[in-house]
Amino acid sequence: MDLTLPLTLSLIVFAVGLFYRLAAWFGQGLPPVDSSLTVGRRLLAALRTIPATLFSSRLLRALRSLLVDALLQKRILDQGISRWLAHTLIVVGFLCLLLFHALDGQITESLFPDYQSTLNPYLFLRNLFGVLVLAGIGLAVVRRIRLRTRRLRSNSSDWAALAFLAAIILSGMVLEGSRIRSYSVYQEMVEEYAAFANDEDELALEAFWVAENGLSSANFPQLPAADQVTRGQEVNEGTCTECHVSNRYAFASMALAGVATPARAILGDSGAVNFFWYLHILLCFAFLAWLPFAKMFHVIAAPLNLLIRGAGGENPSLEPANLLNRQMIGLSACTHCGACSVACSSSMFFASFQNEFILPSEKVQYLQKFAAGKEKDPAVWKRMQQGLYVCTSCDRCTTICPSGINLREIFVNSRYQLLADGPPESALLSHFSFPLALAQVRIGDHLQALKKVTELFRQRFQRLADLSGPIQLDGAESTGIANHSYLGCYSCARCSNICPVVRSYEHPVEALGMLPHQIIFSLGIGKTELAMGAKMLWSCSTCYLCQENCPNQVELCDIFYTLKNSALIEAGAQT
């Protein structure tokens, strides 16, 4: 059978996929992308780093990262032995099968001149490596199910990758199993290699193979007699063992040989062998073709990302072209392993806000689309914006990522871009803003985004200063505030006098809209909305001095929090 056509086809698809990935690496970016950074300039910038790294001390660090993080996978080991074991079993088993089994004509034969696929250790190792991969897949499946409760998200691509790998290995094992059973395969071997003194020897050898090597023969519907097997063993030793060890060493395939029985019944003896052969080969080619398009691309992108990281690519003062390149390579290196989401400090906010995008692993998946300019749905946009903002900047995701993706940088960048074009984001008015203010990145963008939210308040609430004429009291309004301590206020203004915010302004009423005692007073007269619109609420330093010094135990600071929560809903910033 000529494999040229399917192999060529899968290689073409692989090449197209790779081109598509490279185009993303050097052509896409998390906006705003500087239009002067053309693909050509970005490619050049990337290429320039190669000699710059090769002839510097960074080379050693890059190599170390490649060895320790990519090859030995220390970053995975840091997350626990079972995860490392799962991944290592798959990698080692699959790589060995690829190099020594799939490429045996090219690699194994040149390394070991006496190589025969039917001899040991090759026969045994092939089975062993297959079993290693399957064991790794088993562990990975268990992890994905077990950590589901810890917010590990598994999408179809994750399961597809595991299923694909398992199918390749299992189809190979069943193929070998069907060959073990096959009488026609046996006959071919006999014709090619054996010479018998008489017919009895020929039948005895067959009896031995039926009894010992899993052969299925119409001549022996029952297990052959012991003396015939013993005689067959002698013939076997004289004729076969030089090139073929016992099939018992192919332990996995022997065990799975029975699986091929239905196919043998339908397709016949050699038909079944052919079927499984095609199945195995085509699965391998399909996998090769699929590799650049889904998470399996990490086998290329993750080591590269780790290499870049090791070579000092984490440097924030990188030239803009390489900054973009690095971010795009980083995004493509995500394996959706979910380690970041399991460790995420904001995981409980995810539970409260019911927004998948609060989980870092889901953000990264989405951002690949975002960088490609594919996402336009405003509802998704809004959720993503919240997902990016409801983040404590604890950097656990960046620290833990086995692919070494600089998630922090990617998230910070995309956060402000979405904020610039998206709807007002209520989370800006929270302490999630603190680490951003501290880092002082994109200050102008932050202020712009902040303006959008405060504008909502200006539109929604009437300010005290705008009121003309006396406030109408209808007495029917309920404040909706569960904390009734405000009823104890007798307007002594102790709160406003002790407030460090009030004293920070020369004209506090002008700057803050209302002073603390006025806010409490307006609640007292049932004017909650007036209180909600006071700028004072968002200028409250939450120091609790007012509350602690109130002679009548009005819990001002706690009430302010409630008012802030409700004001966000009222103004339509928070749903």
């Binding site: 409760t149 904001s346 409260s352 330093s541 609790y544 001095l545 409630t562």
Partner: protein, 327 residues
């Protein structure tokens, strides 16, 4: 003894030296602070947005502490208050506790109200105690003026935090004075660093921060010692980005020292383990000057204590005699 150390989100990534210094100090007193990898954010950042979103994360933390059977020791004041708040609300509102537990059940966690939350200052003051600390001192400071910044959420609201006397706290000052340093009585000691406004109203946050720095300087502070992680970040990081003021020259910062660093040096822990060089407002000269101020402790305080002990005994005997006589 061991405790579940609650570091929150700022310390591990932005102030790792706080954790290492604190762990080293407590180890001197045979107290193990165990980092619980499963802890998540305390919820504080979401407080402005939604109350339930604010409380749930801490309920999960409480459930984790309950599972491990350890008391929580918080470092950051805002984490401390959030954990206490969650515990308080859960104790008062069973239906809210049930709702939280429903969410937690998804990952096999449950909070039944048994967790205890303490601040590390209380632990040091109450569990280790001044006497034991004094005994462990190998060096003390001579002529060192410290402006201690308690931070708001450790003290207030007092019914929630239950820490010391919210109006006239002494625990922090006594702990500072144990090292031989002077704990200054300065205007900003119990006030706000401005962190809660950073990113929301930056000019105001900066005003509050520079006010603290000027007040500490005016009081003659050699160092400012914040307790809360937010205060620390304001002072150590945000201070450097403050708009220039006539008050002080550019690049001349009021150096920031954490309490376990201050105490750690007196306990003979090396500067490296205390991570002092990682405080970005401290330069090599400051560190050298700090070392220069360290002297071998004079035995006087110990003798004084003994004398006090004696007087105490004499008083007791006197009292007993009086009681006997009156009877």
């Amino acid at each position: 003894m061991n405790y579940a150390l609650f570091l929150g989100c700022n310390i591990p990534i932005r102030i790792p030296q706080y954790a290492t210094a604190l762990t080293a100090v407590f180890r001197k007193f045979a107290i193990e602070l165990v980092e619980e990898a499963d802890f998540n954010c305390c919820g504080y950042p979401a407080r402005n947005i939604d109350e339930q979103a604010y409380l749930l994360p801490s309920v999960r933390n409480l459930a984790i502490a309950e599972r491990s059977g350890r008391d929580i020791v918080a470092v950051c004041n805002c984490c401390f208050a959030s954990l206490r708040k969650a515990a308080q609300v859960m104790a008062e509102r069973p239906e809210q506790l049930r709702a939280c537990n429903t969410v937690l059940a998804g990952e096999g966690l449950h909070y039944s109200g048994k967790a205890t939350i303490r601040h590390y200052l209380s632990l040091l003051y109450e569990e280790v105690g001044a006497e034991q600390i004094r005994k462990a001192l190998t060096m003390v400071y001579d002529d060192l003026q410290i402006a201690l910044l308690y931070g708001c959420h450790l003290l207030r609201p007092r019914r929630l935090t239950g820490f010391d006397d919210a109006f006239v706290p002494k625990i922090g000052d006594e702990l500072v004075q144990l090292t031989g340093a002077t704990s200054l009585d300065w205007g900003g000691r119990l006030e706000c660093c401005g962190a809660a406004l950073a990113g929301i109203n930056d000019p105001l946050a900066n005003t509050l921060l520079s006010e603290k720095i000027s007040m500490a300087r005016a009081a003659g502070a050699h160092y400012i010692t914040p307790i809360c992680a937010y205060c620390y970040l304001q002072l150590d990081t945000a201070q450097q980005k403050l708009p220039a003021s006539p008050d002080h020259a550019a690049n001349a910062f009021l150096p920031v020292l954490l309490y376990p660093q201050l105490l750690g040096l007196c306990l003979g822990i090396d500067t490296e383990s205390l991570g002092i060089a990682q405080n970005s407002t401290i330069n090599a000269d400051d560190l050298e000057a700090l070392r220069q101020r360290l002297i071998v402790p004079v035995q006087k305080p110990a003798r004084k204590a003994k004398m006090a002990d004696k007087t105490d005994k004499t008083n007791k005997i006197k009292k007993a005699r009086e009681t006997a006589a009156s009877a």
